[in-house]
Structures are given as C-alpha cells and as structure tokens.
Symmetry: none
Subunit: 198 residues, 4 copies
DNA sequence: GATGAATGAGTATTCATTCAT
DNA sequence: GATGAATGAATACTCATTCAT
C-alpha cells in the first residue's frame, strides 16, 4: 500500500464505504455489499483495511478532516467575530449529501456512527470556537468566564438542533437568545443567525 | 399470560433483560444469554415476549415509568418552584444501579438503547417541566417567552451532563448560569443546584 | 368428548381449521393461529384433537363427506345419464368459499392438502361415476370396456381443469370431445357441459 | 465463484441436494443435513447458493434440463411420428434413481417439489410434442384440431400415470385408446406403447 | 371439560475474517 | 497487489406438544 496507485484505490474504497455507512448505517452495511459496490474481491478489501471497524474509523477521520478544515478556514478569515462563530457552527452542519438523507440519520442503525462522529467533532471544533470567543472578549463584544465550557455547551446544542431536523423558528430564537446570554453579548448581536439556519 | 403468576414471571424476566441490556448493551445481549440467566427454555421467553425488540420496548417503558413517576411526584409537591425544577431534573438522573455502570453507558453497544430512552424521557418530562416554569413565571420568579422550547433545551443539556459523566464544577456553573439566564431568573436563583449534583 | 355439547364444539373448531387450512395452507397455519381464531386455550385444542395431523385428516373427511353427498344425490336422482355424469363432475368442483380463493389453492403451501383431498376425492367419486356410466352403457348411450379405468381418467382430467383455473374454451372442447370418445358416446352427447362449466 | 473449480464444486453440491430432496423431501431436508453430507461448512453452502429455495430451483432446473434434452433428441431424430411421441412421453418418466424410490415420491414431503417439477416439465415438453403431432397431421396419421390443448391433456395424463405408479394393463389400454382417439389416429396406431411402458 | 404456562429441538440465514495461490 | 473459496460461530425466532391444576 505504498504506491500512489494503491493510495488512490484506498481513498476510492473509503468514499464508497463512507456513502454506504451514511445511507444504510454502519451495522447494516456488510462487507459483501461494499465490495460489490466497489467491484473488488473480498481479499482486496482486506488488503486495504485490517477490519470493518478500522474502515469506520478511517471514514470518520475523513469526515472530520473536511469539517475541521471548513471551520479552520472560517477562524483564519478576516470576518468579524460573530460571523466567524456562525461560520464555525455552520461547518458542523451535515452537508448536502447527508442532509438529503437526514431522515436516515435518525434511523437507529445510524445512531452509533452518528454519536461517534458527533463526539469527536466537538473535540475538534471546541478549541477553534474557544479561540474565536476569546477574540470577541478581547474586542469587548462578549463578556464571560469559563469560555471553554460555554463553547462546548453551545456546540452540543448545535448538534441537537441539526440532528433533530425538526427545529422551528422558536427553537432558533431560543438558541440565539441563549448563545447571546451565555456569552454575555448584547441582545441582537447574533440575530443574523436566524437568516442563515434555513 | 392472564394469571397473576404469569405476570410476576414476566416482570422478573423483564428485570433480568433490563439489567443485561444495561450491562452489555442491547445488541450484544443475545436471547440465549437472557434465557440462560433466567434459567428458562427458549419457548418460555417467547411465550412472554413476542420479540427481542418488544422486550427492549418493555424495558424502556419500565425505566420511563419509574422516572416519570419521580418527576410527577416532584411537580405535585408543595415545594418552591426552583426546587421543583431541580427535582424534575434529578429524576432524569440514572439511578444507582445504572450509574454504577456508567462507564458502560458510553460503550457504543449501549448508544442505541440510551438514545431511545433519552428521546422518550424528554417527551415525558418536557410537559411537566413546562408546567413548573409557567408556575414560576406566574410567581414572578422567571420571565421568558417560548417556554416549551427553553424547557426542551434545558432538558437536552441535562441529559448531556448526566450522560458524559465527566462534567466538572465549571460545567455545572455554566449550566446553572445558562438556565437562570434562559428562564430570565435572578442570578443565584438556581445556585443551590450546585450542591445537589454530586 | 361424549356429550353433545362437546361434539358441537369439536365441529365448530373443525370448521375454523378447515377455513384456515384452505386460506393459508396447512403448513402455514399454526395451532396458535387456530386457537386465537377460535378463542380457546391451547389445552382445549388438544383435548379435542390429538395432533395437528389428526385435525387435517378430520378436515379432509369433512370436505369429502360433503362432496360425496352431493355426488350421491345426483346418482340417485331420476336425471338422464349424461346429466348425472355432469352432476357428479360438478360435485367435485370447489365450492364458492374455496373457489373465491382459488388462486390460493395453487400456492405451494396448499399443494399438500390439495393433493390429499384430490386423491381421496377420486377414490370416493369413482365408484359412483362408474355406476352411472354402466347405466349409460345399459341404455345404449355409451359403449366401452374398462369402465373403471376410463372413469378414473375422466376424474383426473376434471381435477386438472378445476385446479388450474386457467382453462379456456378450447380446453373444455377438448375435454368434452375426449370424454365422449373415451366412453364411446355419439358426438355431441355431452356437449351441454360447455354451458355449465363457467 | 468464477473459477472452473468453484463451478465443479457447485455442481457436486447440487447433486447431493438433489438426491436428498428426492429421498427425504424438500421441507424435511435441512441445510444442516446437506452440509453434513457434503462435509462442508455452513458458510460454504451459502457461498454457492443464496438460499434453500434457490437450491431447489437449481435442482429442478438440473432435472428439467436432462429431461428436456432427452425429449428434444427424440423429436430431432428420424423416427416415425408415433415412435417420437412415445419417446417424448418416456422422457418424462422418472429415471432409475428416482423410480427406485418411487414410493418416496408419494410421501407428502415430496409433493411440493414434485408438483413444481411436473408443472414446469409440461411447459417444456408441450411445445415439442405439439410439433411432433403437427408433423403427424401433415403426414395424415392424425386428424384433430386444438392440438396444443390435446397435447397438454395427454402430458397431464402421462404424469398421473407415472406418478401413481399403480397403473395396470387396463389403465395403459385406456390411455392408449384415449390418445389415439383424441388425436384422431387409426385404432392400433399407438398400440406398441403397451410394450414399452413396463 | 378446560386452561395456559412451559418446553426445547429445530430452522434458515448472516457475516467478518482467513489464507493459499 | 489482488483474488475468491472456505470458514463456523452466532442469532432470532417457530411451533407442535405436554401436563399439572
């Protein structure tokens, strides 16, 4: 698996597994299905991945890498702080491919992968958002202590909102209000979020 | 399954299944293991439960019934509103038996059951807590709109805190602060929570 | 099971089993389903029938008794011989209840019962029809040897026609022609059958 | 399952299943018994066949292929028409292996497979025999209409005769007579059949 | 006459993993 | 690098039958 060609094949396999795990859930996706889709032999699969579990880990890493990259780009950009926060939050939102099957995400088969991704996504995003919030504090936009804990709480709420999919206008209103208050921002500072979340 | 004797046996079986689902996770607990533990024949198991899935539902119902009862008792009591809120929240906390195996609760095998219970627990608890908050508003202790949505958000946060098990003092502080602010209470109103959550 | 009351209950059970065997097939009908339909306890079922197999035999006996009775009535009646033959043949035809589910009769689940009934039905009907044919020979309407064998052959063909359900006009034509020729009747003697078989 | 070796193993498995289905009946033959007989692992069985049902279909296809081949050979040969008809009919007769266990064929366990094979065998053989009969009509040996329906009727009678196993001389006589008459042949044309069927 | 709790052998099917070639 | 034949433990569920009360 050292050649470039092998690496490309591994990535292709990973993308197929990724799509199938999301569409049908990890447990419900058998290796037989994956190799049928990829049109390779079973031995070949095991040449590239030591186990199914390892494939899941690799898939999750791939997903996280993409999301982290988007969040990181937002943080590094010259946007005003509130917009940066929104950008980081939106980076967590499942993309087109996934949200198109957002109903699937709630099916119990997917809970396992979803939880795994969710927990790790917060681990990755929290430091970035903390940085932004501290930037805001320095600018006098926010005023609060225990920044790290507040950030994790906000990220957790985000996930619940995006997960459920069934949030309404009032849910968003409450969310924005809570974010503003927990960060000690002026009422209305984060109001523009409302327009962005669907 | 009409006699009293049968009903008692069913309950006994349910408790065994309940314990095993929690200890090893639903998926990882096979019917064979359950009947070995209960020392009954396979046919007997299926005499009492139509399927494994149905057993899970019955187990969850049992858990929820207990939790809902505790919450309901709190609401009906003559405590002051803030104490009622805390009581409802604490009713959601897993009991001794479960928390003793709280590390297990995070194992991926348990995610499925955990999620199912969590979602339904919120459905059950939300109306109760909403009632209490509205009582608080009437008494001038709280001041907020969108009560239902705020309550659900608070319950989300509670679950997360109890789930993770790894919360520290600062997490609690942030939680209490957020609850106060989101309900529009005076700072310090809910402070006594800190002493109650471990 | 000596009392009259018990006998009536047994008959009622038999009719339920009969209907279910026909509707779903013998193998696919479980005793649990039968007792649920009859609203009795499992022990009660085994009080009336020693086994499922015995129930099937009893059901078949019941079906045959009815069919044989109709055929016998036809033979004893003062109809002209050709009409008697048709009457016997039509007595083999599944009744309303069954033909309404004639598609079901072809489902593989029903083959077992169907074959059993079919074979025994021929045993019962053949002597009756033989008698009628011999009556016809005495009257100079038919002219043939090996009457018994010819009769059985005709009955085979009848069953096949009623079984398949998919016979068309030409099948009937061939059938009538064959019956006439095999019995040594004048062409046209049995022609009126065409109008009777649907 | 692409290699030649795999194909050979599949065929070997098929023959084992074939023998067991015939000996004990389809339903009464468990996968466990098949793999024990073949001395392979359960997984290996399912590597070659997706399901038990699929195995049955494959077994039936194998049986039919042999029978159809024998019938086809007869039709293509330069024999006189009556002999061809007999050859096609005889091709339907169960071979040594099966008839040696002909008693088994009547056991209810085998009815399902037997019926399935029977129905499909007629589908396969009917067009061949129709062709031969039409050849006979062209040669002035036969004279009849509705050839297809008559052929199917004849084939059906054949099956009943071979099935029952209990036919006697007079049954054959009646059968031959009926065939001659239904095809509009001179009496005696098919007489030589009598010598061939046992 | 009637009940219903208890049985346990039996069944088809799944699937991640291994390994000789 | 790649293949595909082989594995076998694991799993949920069915159902006719028994028998003490």
């Amino acid at each position: 698996m050292k050649g470039e060609k092998g690496e490309r094949r591994r990535t292709a396999l990973l993308k197929i597994a990724y799509r199938m795990f999301i569409e049908q859930g990890y447990d419900s996706t058998s290796i037989d299905e994956i190799i049928a889709e990829a049109d390779i032999a079973k031995g070949t699969y095991y040449y590239y991945f030591p186990s199914k579990e390892a494939t899941l880990e690799a898939v999750i890493d791939m997903m996280l890498a993409e999301e982290a990259e988007r969040a990181q780009a937002a943080v590094a950009s010259p946007m005003p702080v509130p917009q940066k926060i929104v950008a980081v939050i939106l980076a967590m939102r499942p993309r087109q491919e996934e949200s198109g099957i957002s109903t699937t995400l709630e099916r119990s088969e997917n809970i396992v992968m979803h939880e795994k991704v969710g927990r790790r996504l917060i681990e990755v995003t929290a430091p970035l958002l903390t940085e932004v919030v501290q930037e805001g504090i320095a600018q006098g936009i926010f005023e609060c202590t225990n920044v790290e804990e507040r950030v994790r709480m906000i990220l957790f709420l985000c996930q619940r909102i995006f997960d459920s999919g069934h949030f309404n206008e009032r849910d968003i209103e409450v969310f924005v209000d809570t974010v503003e208050k927990t960060l000690g921002a002026q009422t209305g500072t984060m109001d523009f979020i409302k327009g962005l979340i669907q």
